[in-house]
Symmetry: C2
Subunit: 198 residues, 2 copies
Amino acid sequence: MRQFLVVGHDAPTTPEFSLEDLPGAGRLDLLARAVVAALLHSHGVRSDSRVHLVLDDAYTFVADGATVRHLRPDERSTAARVRNALDARDEAIGAMPAEPSPGVALYRGGLVPALERAAADADRVVVLDETGDPASEAKPTESPLFVLSDHHDFATSDRAAVDKHDPCLVSLGPVALHADQAITVAHNRLDTDSFARY
Amino acid sequence: MRQFLVVGHDAPTTPEFSLEDLPGAGRLDLLARAVVAALLHSHGVRSDSRVHLVLDDAYTFVADGATVRHLRPDERSTAARVRNALDARDEAIGAMPAEPSPGVALYRGGLVPALERAAADADRVVVLDETGDPASEAKPTESPLFVLSDHHDFATSDRAAVDKHDPCLVSLGPVALHADQAITVAHNRLDTDSFARY
């Protein structure tokens, strides 16, 4: 399984935001695109992928390609899924998530518990970083967990949380990419066995 | 320069559509994402890129990374740029486009003239096709023009129009991608000199 965890530093933690202004809702446009990049390809769902959005270090939205239904590729409808999940946040109690629809969960807690949960199903934690090893040389594993930031750099506390999972650093190229673009390129590398299988 | 031409088969040709329902506006969500993938990277504009959206074979929206201003990565604001361009469509006369803002043009005419214009600045026309040569083996050129379709396959007439430009077929991998995902992967291949430079 491939997992992607995106740290949304300014992301909303209540459903009181407008779908007409996703950039103003803590860059939920960016986070919605990350969900779509992680879980959808043309006319299909990536059933071996899961995506985690850490929302202002308070909640974590999780969508699982194996079981999610009716996910569409546009930002607005995807952001509405996040809003619906936040609307059910009172049902998230302790480590038990709210589950507003199949394949969608909302957990209480931010980056530290989200990393714990995701890493439990991963064989490697990968941080995409321009100083890392070239993606063409890094040997893919079966169950990578990619950790990405939103439009902000990782905070020092983010780095500390990730470092506990012994991450490797991988560079996707010399051009800094949006989170969704980085997810797309990471998928393509894995789809092609590091650019060997077309 | 890198160019991307996306055929929007159902795209609107008048500004009378709602920014609250971009999927219902001839999949303008998809076309907006293609513009963003072509022209933006993290915190910057790809000044060597140009994107062409063919709108229902009647008009063509063009945005040029060298001169466009205030382009944002979200679908809604990008779709609003297309709407503004369509609002100025009466100023497009013959081969002269409307130019509603710097770096943005709206031409009358569909795929055939759009290909002529774009190919004039290209040294190779590339069609992304799963039966094509692996992207890792195809030698990049300085000024490729990538031709993509929206959520529909190319129509027979589309293929005929493209074939006049002696295209080469390139495969990006075994998984069919959304247009914006394919643009992102094509950029990454060129950014890395076919996965050699990181």
